[in-house]
């Protein structure tokens, strides 16, 4: 359904390019991204104009056995690479220099001006396809697009470990699309966006006090309707919690960082061999088909010769039959080679996914524990603030009639 909606939207935007400009949304066709250089900010924005970005760990997509086999990958590998991909997008965005705080965040996290989510549609050594959405705290859609790319061996020669991968074009394209929307915003729009982010955080923490400061319509668009006093003690406490929330994201990313760096080389190796094996399998199959077909033609020709009783054709006929049979044998031999390539691929996948799983389970243990502790703390703060607010309301002087 999401795909249909996305395709419909893209068709609509092709017909009405003006709408693209007005909404600031980057939507394009789902074709291959092709070579894409990342755009880098010439001058940094002032600190109060820096837009913060949160990136959720990518969704794994369809990981049933049939889908995984078709994509020459496995569920375990997919589980490992979705964390890697989200973090790699973070490092790519940091290279562009357009943004403030960029963090990989838990699902549904608040406190970021723009939230990026993505689903992996396919991923192996040869192809990567991501369905990416980016929406700001005001509810505006910045990106709603499928990014797809197919690579060859050349892209693996151009890898810089820890910096650029074989599918760097996709990450650069996402970064460029986000930057394109950012550049179209003036300082007032950014201030309003950041204020909305702050108040939505406060409203989630203490809806009794700040729920009415932001209005959200049925389309998910949010608008600030009131501003809190800067010297409001309750607001100051909310800001103190907001600082801790940012520090939590920082610790979470400090946990992801070594995982990302440790996984880089083995993941790149697996993808490279995955590509080579896929190419070899296809090549072996094509050869096999050609040779088998050629063999059948030769035998058919021999039968034809016999039927037509051509003089002195017996030797030629024998050659054709035997030669044709041999060519067929060659065809079968080559298809066996395809099986060997496939087995090697599976062995590589199993080895990589097993090791990646070990590292990933350790990562999950740490992040789940940290996230759990923080959630518990947030609940406690929410409770204290609620009581503070209630006490403040009780102590408010009653107006004389």
């Amino acid at each position: 359904m999401e795909r249909i909606r996305s395709v419909f939207r893209r068709s609509f935007l092709v017909l009405f390019p003006g709408v693209v400009f007005l909404t600031g949304c980057a939507t394009q066709s789902a074709g291959r991204v092709g070579p894409t250089t990342i755009q880098v900010a010439l001058e940094p924005y002032p600190s109060d104009q820096l837009v913060d970005i949160g990136i959720e760990v990518f969704k794994e997509g369809d990981t049933d056995e049939e889908a995984m086999e078709k994509q020459h990958t496995s569920q375990q590998i997919r589980k490992s690479e979705v964390v890697f991909m989200a973090y790699h997008l973070k490092t790519t965005l940091e290279e562009s220099g357009f943004w403030g705080d960029i963090r990989v965040v838990p699902d549904g996290a608040t406190g970021k001006d723009v939230l990026v989510t993505a689903e992996v549609l396919s991923s192996n050594g040869e192809e990567l396809a991501l369905d990416v959405q980016a929406r700001d705290s005001q509810g505006n859609v910045w990106i709603d697009r499928i990014y797809r790319d197919r690579v060859g061996r050349q892209q693996y020669e151009e890898i810089r470990v820890g910096k650029t991968g074989p599918f760097q074009n996709i990450y650069n394209a996402i970064a460029n699309d986000l930057a394109s929307v950012r550049r179209r915003q003036d300082s007032l729009q950014v201030r309003q966006l950041k204020r909305t982010t702050q108040l939505l955080f406060a409203a989630e923490l203490l809806p009794e006090a700040y729920g009415e400061y932001v209005r959200t319509d049925s389309n998910g668009r949010s608008e600030v309707v009131r501003l809190p006093a800067e010297d409001d003690p309750l607001w100051q406490r909310v800001n103190q919690i907001s600082v801790r929330n940012r520090m939590f994201f920082e610790s979470l990313n400090a946990t992801y960082d070594p995982y990302y760096r440790e996984l880089w080389k083995p993941y790149s190796d697996w993808r490279r061999y995955n590509l080579v094996e896929q190419l070899s399998i296809r090549e072996a199959r094509a050869d096999s088909i050609k040779k088998t077909a050629a063999g059948i033609i030769m035998i058919a020709a021999a039968i034809l010769l016999e039927m037509e009783e051509v003089d002195n054709s017996s030797t030629l006929r024998d050659v054709l039959v035997l030669g044709g049979a041999q060519v067929i044998i060659n065809g079968v031999n080559i298809s066996k080679r395809a099986d060997i390539h496939r087995d090697t691929l599976k062995e590589l996948s199993d080895s990589f996914s097993s090791d990646a799983k070990t590292v990933r389970v350790e990562l999950e243990g740490q992040t789940v524990e940290l996230t759990g502790n923080v959630s518990q703390q947030m609940a406690q703060w929410r409770d204290i603030l609620r009581k503070m607010h209630a006490t403040e309301m009780e102590n408010l002087p009653v107006a004389d009639e």
Partner: protein, 274 residues
């Protein structure tokens, strides 16, 4: 409540006996708790200050992040100051050594203490708001401690991993090396071949085969009873067109098991004809 005459109170204060140096258990516990809390706050302040220094020297650190951390360090320094004052107060109360009480004045002291207890406290009782403020401040402090402990553990883990080196952290390298060897044995170069490598690799295999000496092939034959590793063989004299095709197929085949079968067929065909 009946207040004691002033001269009785004054006499009682002047003759307050010196108490033993040892504190009551509850007071000792309070003092120890205050010392622990001060150490915790000082440790947190030191760690956060080091982190702030590093961030201030980092040209890539964002202003927003630096400002947030500065605020945080300032809050920690305030916490250290407050706790130090608390500890100083407690130590002052418990600090002066006193001598054992004179049993002859015990009765007067008891009355004095009773009178003091009955005087209402000069300090107002804590309001609900103040209690909540205190609870909030304590929860912030607890969170900060948790996060700092987590970060320290993470740094220790990363340092330990770096110390172990790459060998311990990449068993994939072994799998990758083995895969590379397997691919090369099948005539596929994982790193340098172009898209049309299939044909090229087939073309180069006979060249590789030709470098192997007949003696190596002979030795392998002796061990296994069948032709093994040699990619090419000199053609037999009785080779005809079909046999030549079989031989060429065997020479081009990169799979050793399948190549062996083809060589058997070649031999069987020629032996059958003869």
């Amino acid at each position: 409540m009946r207040l004691l005459p002033f001269h009785v109170l004054l006499w009682s204060l002047l003759s307050v006996p010196a108490w033993p140096r040892e504190l009551a258990p509850a007071a000792q516990q309070q003092l120890s708790q205050a010392e622990r809390e001060l150490k915790l706050a000082e440790a947190s302040f030191r760690r956060a200050s080091r982190r702030l220094e590093a961030m201030q020297e980092d040209p890539e650190a964002l202003d927003q992040e630096v400002l947030a951390l500065e605020d945080y360090v300032h809050e920690l320094s305030e916490l250290v100051r407050v706790r130090k004052e608390t500890l100083d107060d407690l130590q002052a109360l418990a600090g002066s050594p006193v001598s054992a009480p004179d049993p002859t004045v015990t009765e007067g002291m008891e009355a004095f203490e009773s009178a003091v207890d009955s005087v209402p406290s000069a300090e107002p009782e804590e309001t609900e708001q103040e209690r909540l403020d205190r609870e909030f401040a304590a929860s912030l402090e607890e969170f900060d401690g948790m996060l700092l402990a987590y970060n320290r553990t993470l740094e220790d883990q990363i340092a330990a991993r770096s110390a172990e080196g790459e060998a311990a952290a990449s068993p994939h390298q072994t799998a990758a090396a083995e895969a590379e060897e397997l691919l090369r044995s099948m005539g596929v170069d994982p790193g340098t071949e172009t898209e049309n490598s299939g044909e090229e690799s087939e073309a180069t295999d006979p060249a590789q085969g030709e470098t192997e000496s007949p003696s190596e092939v002979a030795e392998t034959s002796g061990e296994t009873g069948t032709p093994g590793t040699g990619s090419t063989r000199p053609p037999r004299e009785d080779e005809d067109v079909v046999a030549r095709q079989l031989r060429e197929a065997a020479e081009k085949e990169t799979d050793p098991v399948l190549r062996e079968k083809l060589w058997k067929e070649y031999e069987a065909y020629l032996d059958g004809r003869s």
